[in-house]
Amino acid sequence: MNFLDLIWLIPLFPVVGFLVNGLIGKRLPKSVVGIIGAGAVLVSFIFSAGAVLQLAQLPAEERSHTVRLYQWFDAGAAQTLGGQMARFQVDFGFLLDPLSSVMILVVTGIGFLIHVYSTGYMHEEDGFYRFFAYLNLFMFSMLTLVLGSNYLMMFIGWEGVGLCSYLLIGYYFHKKSAGDAAKKAFVVNRVGDWGLSIGIMLIFVSFGTIEFTAVGEAVREGLAAGSFSVSDPLFIGIALALFVGATGKSAQLPLYVWLPDAMEGPTPVSALIHAATMVTAGVYMVARSNFIFQMAPEAMAVVAVIGALTALFAASIGLVQNDIKRVLAYSTVSQLGYMFLALGVGAFAAGVFHLMTHAFFKALLFLGSGSVIHAMHHEQDMRKMGALKNKIPITFKTMAIGTLAIAGIPGLAGFFSKDEILWKAFSNPQGHVILWLLGVVVAGMTAFYMFRLLFMTFYGESRVDHHVEHHIHESPKSMTIPLMVLAAGSVVSGYLGIPLWLGGTNAFEHWLEPVFEPLPITQAAIVEHSHAFEAGMAALSVMVALAGIYLAYRKYYKTSYRAETEVASYGAAYPVLQNKYYVDELYDGLFVNRVKDAGVGLWKFDAKLVDGAVNGSASLTVTGANGSNWWDRWIVDGIVRFIGGFIKTASWPIRLIETGYTQNYALVMVLGVLIIIGYALWGGQ
């Protein structure tokens, strides 16, 4: 079977699952629903794997395979900025290349595991079928996002995952907080999409196409022909516009606010969407647009700085969160910051590498936390946990692996990818020592709060509610097996990219090379560092992580957890961190409430001022006794009622002269004649 030409089926299988579950799922038994849902993804995974294997067999320079299904739309002629004519036409096409192959494997692979996990986790829920339908729809969107051959195909997925995220966050729709979070997620994302769509449009008017490969070629050609130059404002504009989109979807500053709230959704959703796949879409998109970002070093600097700051910012909030999922959520934001840091310093492959490893261990951690929550009967507050180690051993062990991985302990996946990023932040020409330093600090904080999570949850004395205490049980196989597989992945996936200084080949980077081929731009020479120096830097970052772990060990393992001591230890910073730097409040005050005010204000304006002459003339029908208050009304009801009022005033004298007295009539006539005479004799000249 030629899987390469069948890649369009990969997103389609989940659609079938979605349709079946969505339309008739209500009448199917839960097991069948689960099998359909997970099976659809499994088939996608098989097709993905087949396609990737076949792709790998091609020579490196031919590893780009486009399948055009049909022309999606053709909106007619357009003038590009260069004055050429182009047609705004978009294909319904799919592109398999090394980058998208990584993405589809991650998405379908981890997606499948999470589907399996969900069959267990969601088993008690109403609307089981609905959940799987949404999940499958999400898989479709996500696969379209990463497989699409052009920016608009990506945009389909981009918006589609947004919709699914909305639906899944709002899955417990009877909870107001869930509904609010869902809406917040969508609307904040829409702000990003605003930028993204502007970026896409700019790409079209600049290059006359939005196909990834064609745009890439156009950039290269333009560069060769001298029609484009590095740091061209156009490229900076496009890059920044795209990055605005990325900050929305990938929860970066300043648009990260939706992600922590998104934890209102069921835990598998958090794992799939808000950790492993959807939130990395921004990373994917920036990586995909590397040729544009390379042309705009200033924009890359912005990306790097935003990434680093987000990493630090989110990590600091994560230090004090007590909701197990919120800790993970901020951790995700922070890790995404890492990825953007990598992209920003030009280490696209490193960013994608971290994306992949992060997908494994973060999905693992979320699912593990789900397992904990499942065991704890939907208790998410870590302050009410503790000493769960022996009660749910599999969960504990797998989560421990995940924690070690994210902390960057050598030998696990996180170490390889994180170290790669830190090294590139230091050594790449676009890098800077401050960026590196931020990264290292974040690494330490990450290690600290993750181990805080681990210790608070599994160690120490039990703070569990008594009613819950004796119900605690290990999760069913359908949940633990995915955990174990992911734990394995969290270890193994790192070995795809063993760096050179460890004697590896950095296979992952090589695999992605065709996509991230640097543009022929003259830039500062890469300062060569010895492998020993690189190893030393790595050791340093590991030391910092270990320090973080030790700190956590001291605070949360050695001493039993007490809220007051924790609060006290942060001093004045605690409320700030606990309240997430008051950003939500700030946004509410600055934007949300202002928009609502504007809405109310304009509405009143509309009703009172803009509203038409009709209103005025309608009010005429009531001429009676409202003479006294009509001034009032005249002013309140504003401009257009003014016309009505004017008519009313005009009708007043008519009333005065229409007295019914014959002689008054005659008088008016005579006056009329006199006025005309006056006009004709003197006025006319």
Partner: protein, 533 residues
């Protein structure tokens, strides 16, 4: 068959009136018969309009087709002259599609004075189709005004609590605009003979006598003095802008929508508003290219203000229907924005968006109508958690919400994105400013959805609501199908409008396609995708 084919436009347009004539003689008490007959007439109207789509020559979509031309008032040079090109094709089909759905939606909702109700709806149908097929300005104006009366009655008799106010407001507002439009038409009419005397090409094709021929006026557009064009554009602007409605002429719309019965709202939003934009497209742009250019800044500004304004006001509405009504203001802002970006992308998108708006807003009004029928209130605060009791309804509502906020693979996206693309080609800031409408659009629609569908079902009155019945599903199903069709495969629609649009663009900006050969064909030679790149 040949007769049918030659007269298809006339037949489609007047078929509903023929149905009304029969309807008048039905027994007033026999409500079932009246309902069946009216629905049959409307549905048959749709069926007999289908051949238009299939017989339409898409290759020559910029040529008027199915032309019928009969002298009417010879003293004035008025003709019964109908024909359609790609643009009118879409709008005619939209009208014949929405008509039966609107009728079907009133099956249970309307129970008093049925006969008149259906008669007015069907007469409205004729008026609307007539507007879109007229190629004679006089004829156009007649249809344009004719449909005011049935709409007035639909709002005034079967409307809500402030129906009389809303009805007369609708009527007066529109009438104010259209009488000025009439003056503009007259100015063109009297300018024509003089122009024809000077321009042999004009005289050769359309003669030198007074005429109302739209095509002649379009041809004249290139020669008309700019000053005159400016004034005529102003007159047209008021007429069409009120109908669209563009900010600040929009205040009739919320009232009319809120008070109108569901079917009225559907028709109003779905078709009537399009008459304004169609007017701009068919008349203002090609007939008054210089005037158009002079007004572009104003039109763009008003469009963008409309987009943002409509969205902001919509957000805070406590009444669902009013919310959707204000969203129309915002959506129609997109339509006019694309139109006055004056490039093929913008115009194409603008036309597609007109269709989209008809579909999604029409459906949203149907949806609001369904819930109103059940609860007799449209206060958003009265609802919450409806998903629990009306799952199918929730899904339909969701799809249409998504269509309205422009989710890709649904219709709204295609239109909005293309419009923004066109706007961006005109000026980056237009696109950025208008893009805010997308964010706000998501905000108000999702907020609405959240407040009504999500949450706990705490209002006891909502606990026994019935889900959509078969008739209601049948009513919205075509719209859902259309939404997906346009979202997934809009090619036929774009194909229908592209050539006429290019013609319009060439008219206003003759140098637009320069640099590309075959300028005269009206079809720019642009390398197909993949050839050049």
């Amino acid at each position: 068959m040949d007769f049918f084919r030659q007269h298809i436009l006339t037949i489609v347009a007047f078929w509903p009136v023929a149905g009304v004539i029969v309807l008048v003689f039905l027994n007033k008490e026999n409500k079932t018969l009246i309902r069946w007959w009216a629905n049959f007439v409307a549905f048959a109207g749709f069926v007999i309009s289908l051949p238009i789509w299939f017989w339409f020559d898409f290759e020559n979509s910029d040529q008027m087709q199915f032309i019928q031309k009969v002298p009417w008032i010879q003293n004035l040079g008025v003709e019964y002259h109908v024909g359609i090109d790609g643009i009118s094709l879409l709008l005619v089909m939209l009208t014949t599609l929405l008509g039966p759905l609107a009728l079907l939606s009133s099956w249970d909702a309307i129970d008093n004075r049925l006969k008149e109700y259906y008669a007015f709806l069907l007469m409205l149908q004729t008026g609307m189709i007539g507007v879109f097929i007229s190629l004679d300005f006089f004829l156009f104006y007649v249809f344009w005004e004719v449909m005011l009366v049935p709409m007035y009655f639909l709002i005034g008799v079967w409307g809500g609590s402030r129906k009389l106010y809303a009805a007369i407001k609708f009527f007066l507002y529109t009438l104010f605009g259209s009488v000025l439009l009439l003056l503009g038409i007259l100015a063109l009419y009297f300018a024509y003979p003089g122009m024809a005397a000077q321009q042999p090409s004009l005289a050769a094709e359309f003669g030198t006598a007074h005429t109302f021929n739209v095509l002649a006026f379009q041809a004249m557009g290139s020669f008309l003095p700019a000053g005159l064009q400016w004034w005529i554009f102003l007159a047209f602007f008021v007429g069409f802008a009120i109908k669209v409605p563009m900010f600040p002429f929009h205040t009739w719309l919320p009232d009319a929508h809120v008070e109108a019965p569901t079917a009225g709202s559907v028709i109003l939003a779905g078709v009537l508003l399009k008459m304004g934009t169609y007017g701009f497209l068919r008349f203002s742009l090609p007939m008054l290219p210089e005037g158009t250019k002079a007004f572009i800044p104003l039109m763009i500004t008003l469009s963008i203000v409309g987009i943002v304004y409509g969205a902001l006001v919509a957000m805070m509405q406590p009444d669902m229907k009013k919310l959707v009504a204000y969203s129309s203001v915002s959506h129609m802002g997109f339509v006019t924005l694309g139109m006055f970006a004056l490039n093929p992308n913008g115009l194409n998108g603008s036309i597609i968006q007109q269709i989209n708006h008809g579909i999604s807003t029409g459906a949203l009004f149907l949806i609001v109508g369904m819930i109103y029928e059940r609860r007799h209130t449209r206060e958003i605060s009265q609802f919450g958690g409806i998903s629990h009791v009306m799952p199918v309804f929730a899904v339909v509502f969701l799809i249409m919400t998504m269509s309205s906020i422009g989710l890709p693979l649904l219709n709204g996206f295609i239109g909005e994105f293309t419009i923004l693309m066109g706007a961006l080609q005109a000026n980056l800031w237009y696109a950025i400013a208008a893009g805010s409408g997308i964010v706000l659009g998501a905000a108000y629609m999702l907020w609405l959805y959240q407040r009504t569908m999500f949450g706990t079902l705490d209002n006891p009155a909502n606990q026994k609501l019935l889900d959509m019945n078969f008739r209601e599903i049948v009513t919205v199903a075509p719209l859902i199908i259309m939404a997906f069709w346009i979202g997934l495969y809009p090619a036929p629609f774009f194909k229908a409008v592209e050539k006429p649009v290019n013609k319009i663009v060439l008219k206003v900006r003759p140098d637009f396609f320069q640099g590309a050969p075959q300028l005269n064909a009206g079809q720019p030679a642009v390398p197909a995708q993949g050839d050049a790149r």
